[in-house]
Symmetry: C2
Subunit: 335 residues, 2 copies
DNA sequence: ATCGTTGTCGGGAACGTTACCAAAAAGGCT
DNA sequence: AGCCTTTTTGGTAACGTTCCCGACAACGAT
């Protein structure tokens, strides 16, 4: 069973395709009776306009593309839910892609999206992405772009991020106030923007409380599965921290597991606080203190910005970075 | 900056579009020198064929669609990773959609996918889906379909599922062997196929060990956020179970939280085992026993089946259901 | 010299849709 | 009666690509 087209309708009703087309979109310049005839027949035959033909003609698709490193990451899947909520409301479809932290995949995804004529792109950069030519290129092609969470200073676009500095500051300060002195910070590769923001927050808290910054207590950790475990073991052995502040979902879990595997008591020997969106943080042993990012709201805000520029409701000349507050959830792991 | 087309190349090189087209796809009947000329110019100008035009012409897109209830569910995001792994290898893009457990959204997603001429669809049914006309319709249109995990008996298609019966059987049996008598089963809405499979496994284990099946110990629970909590509270109060076996990620977490909130000791008072793909099961308090489904492998297998039928490497006349073994991971919550 | 063959290319239609330009009929105006 | 609007419809090009068909030259064979 093939899909019915405007031509089929035209033939069946002895009309021209242009008449049918206009009737279907309710043009004023068409006889009400003809219009009714066409609409009824279309309904009966379950006619749906071919979106591909429309895209080819109009150079748009009524869909926006989203690229995230990993949907298995709770933060990103929640952000996507925020994006979908507003996009769906405003009549846009959302096409989801994963870069799997690979720069190559990210490029390929971008290629595919612009080829498919998405009306805009929302992206959170992969951990390997060090240059952003692929992004400025689609901007040159006129594709609206909003970067969220994993942003880069090198790209001029609207951006939405959590207040990483503030979150990290509060987390570190809390550890300090509970009497910890050797506060380690385990974080993502240093080329990520969020990494630096969080590091700065951490440093600021130390400085405020007169604790000298000790480079040896900071570890950058890539995305390889076994890497985190090794990094944390080495850190524990050589630096003997009395607190750990981690910078992401993934790292929090890996570190948490590693510390427990070593038989170190949390929070007695080492206090722990993570920057994460885990929904199970309160069910862990012990319950994990977290800095939570408003993932859904970040997605929602980013999508709104994007759709506003697409629909020309936003001044495209001025770009803007929206920062959304984080929230600190203290539980027993950092007591 | 607009994308360059075959016409542009033709004009620039004083050739016809047909010649350029053939040169680009390396047709034998084209002068090697002309071919070289065209290819070099195309490369220089960064030419990429317009996939939309191709789709319109060829009625296909080199993309497959995936519809899952919720990507925030670990099982599904892992399954998607399995799907992407094989699709990427075989030159197909993967378009991800969420039904959010809504039948309407599922229909709308299907519509969008066939409109966009995906070459095949992988779907895991929403919790609200009771009839599958939207699926048989796309089959009639010739779109290959594979259903995975959340399958339905009413649709005739290739299917991939975990061995739910076996997993449930082993879980229940383990609880029985550890001396539990009143084993509750909290599960998803009864119209889901997996629900029944797991229920049957649970029943079979009871029967094997001479424990009469008690309907009051079984609870079906929808997808509303607060529902699980109420259901489990009511169950605990009225039935006093000494063990709970839950049928999904979501339910396991909600129940786990509810039981702990009530101050009931796990596993002392109530043993607990979940059917889940949580990556943090071993970090919970106490570590959670689970029946894990090979999500990645399920996705991989389903995608392979789909791509095989798309590429005509598979006999489309015979349909098949592949069942993949589950694995039971015993931890302290069920001691 | 004529013919068929081979190699190389261009023209046009088609995929489904919309937009522009005509065209025909009907009606109103002077 | 002649002309100009208005209403309603049809024809065609265009979006980017491929594919079928035909054209034309060069070439060897008869």
């Amino acid at each position: 069973m093939e899909a019915i087209t405007i031509k089929d309708i035209a033939k069946a009703l002895n009309l021209s395709t242009s008449t049918v087309s206009r009737a279907l979109r309710g043009s004023y310049e068409i006889n009400p009776e003809t219009k009714k005839l066409v609409l009824e027949y279309a309904k009966k035959m379950n006619y749906h306009p071919n979106p591909i033909a429309l895209s080819l003609k109009e150079n748009r698709s009524r869909a926006i593309g989203v690229i995230v490193p990993e949907i298995a990451n709770n933060f990103f899947s929640q952000a996507i839910n925020g994006i979908e909520a507003v996009a769906y409301d405003r009549g846009y479809h959302v096409v989801i892609f994963q870069s799997h932290e690979s720069y190559e995949r990210e490029r390929s995804n971008i290629q595919h999206l612009v080829g498919r004529k998405v009306d805009g792109v929302l992206i959170s950069l992969s951990g390997q992405t060090t240059e952003v030519n692929h992004l400025s290129e689609i901007q040159k092609r006129g594709v609206p772009l909003v970067v969220f969470d994993r942003i880069s200073n090198e790209i001029e676009a609207n951006k939405v991020i959590a207040d990483n500095f503030q979150g990290a500051f509060e987390a570190a300060e809390h550890l300090i106030l509970s009497g910890r002195k050797r506060i380690a910070h385990i974080t993502s590769p240093s080329l990520l923007y969020t990494t630096n923001e969080r590091l700065e927050g951490y440093k600021a808290a130390l400085e405020k409380h007169g604790i000298p910054f000790n480079e040896n207590l900071v570890r950058y950790c890539g995305f390889a599965p076994e890497e985190a475990r090794e990094v944390i073991f080495e850190l524990l052995d050589t630096q003997k921290p009395d607190a750990i502040f981690t910078a992401s979902d993934r790292l929090a879990l890996d570190c948490f597991a590693a510390v427990k595997a070593k038989g170190i008591d949390i929070p007695e020997q080492v206090a722990f606080i993570g920057f994460t969106n885990l929904q199970v943080a309160h069910l862990l042993d012990p319950p994990l203190s977290t800095v939570v990012q408003p993932a859904f709201e970040i997605g929602k805000t980013a999508a709104e910005m994007l759709l506003d520029t697409i629909d020309n409701k936003r001044n495209t000349a001025t770009i803007k970075t929206i920062k959304i507050p984080t929230e600190v959830n203290l539980r027993t792991s950092s007591d």
